[in-house]
Symmetry: C2
Subunit: 250 residues, 2 copies
Amino acid sequence: MRQDDEEGAPLSPEELERRLRAIGAERYHSLHPFHRLLHGGKLTKGQVQAWALNRYYYQASIPRKDASLLARLPTPELRREWRRRLVDHDGDGVTPGGVERWLKLTDGLGLDRGYVTSLAGLLPATRFAVDAYVAFVQERSVLEAVASSLTELFSPAIISERVEGMLRSYDFVSPDTLAYFTPRLTQAPQDSAFALAYVKREARTRAEQELVLGALRFKCDLLWAQLDALHFAYVEPRLPPPGAFRPEGM
Amino acid sequence: MRQDDEEGAPLSPEELERRLRAIGAERYHSLHPFHRLLHGGKLTKGQVQAWALNRYYYQASIPRKDASLLARLPTPELRREWRRRLVDHDGDGVTPGGVERWLKLTDGLGLDRGYVTSLAGLLPATRFAVDAYVAFVQERSVLEAVASSLTELFSPAIISERVEGMLRSYDFVSPDTLAYFTPRLTQAPQDSAFALAYVKREARTRAEQELVLGALRFKCDLLWAQLDALHFAYVEPRLPPPGAFRPEGM
């Protein structure tokens, strides 16, 4: 954050939203070459396995970060909202949550579930990026923690593109294995509408607004870094680090 | 860590050392293709700048991790040993420490010191890996924190190779700009001899020994991940993430 930004006049809530959306337009991981390959049907099954295996750790960590934020929220209204996110990801014991649905995807790709959940084949860079997210939500202000969830503003577009592209291109995925994504198309807009209204209301000074913008940049960076690591290890130059998952034949 | 390892008979101290050295032989970042290019004179000045800029954050964070360990050490003897490391890195106000000497390198490469220390051009993956190291030392046992410093067992060899290779190959480095490394050739063996004796003495059960081995693997992984990110952004496929340093002409 630059000094002059921090000390400037507050932005209008509409201008804050415009700047948040501009960050997405510049930095959201839909622009990453790995996603273009994934959605365009250009990856091998092994490369898609590597993506699903690594992304599992991100999915499995979302409830950790949401629970740590939940524990710090001051009102029943806010806690109910954040509790709903936990239900979405952890399920209610009847309807499977997002983590369980993600494992349906790794199952469908032929990965052993014990291997996936052991994290034994995870890229270290995935672990560092995801753990940085959990630590950010634990350590920063509630305002920044809420703001870091705002990438969901941009996710419905990428999910639609992903599901359509993957179903069209890969004979090893089916609507059933991609079942993770369908509920996200309604959950994410509900989540992000709440979070966006929250930061527009609660970030009153320019310094607070800059923290909100910085939190979204940070979140875009860590999603991007996960794809950099996948691309490096499995696409080009294709050098998985010692100990990481190696698809059959690699 | 596998259950059977954890429950096995303790290794002899010599066998523990052998296994620690085997981890270095397999995973230390001297084996990374980026280092081969760096030491072999195959990088452009811009690529060497990117390495020095990113590695600055690692260097600057070493005293943070050492201070957090120092604060948890139980005896004057251990604290004196760890205090020496702080002196090595932070200096004594007369002789410059390692952080200051690293900035001589970035100065010598033509990077603006304010830009370097602002971390504005840092690769997010560098930040995540380095912060993971600091968090590991803060959160894990003293035994694991000490063990994570054991990559210094392997650093004198890489430093000799680096200094020799860089001086031979690059007209933009000089003995003066590489002054960081000279004291490390005596400091690192002193540090690692102490840490190795400590873990051989203090890791008594097999479970403790496996934690020691795991800590060194973790440390190798985070050094490796930093080079993966540099290689990806600046060598191949050469795609620096949004906001990261871009060398002139890139």
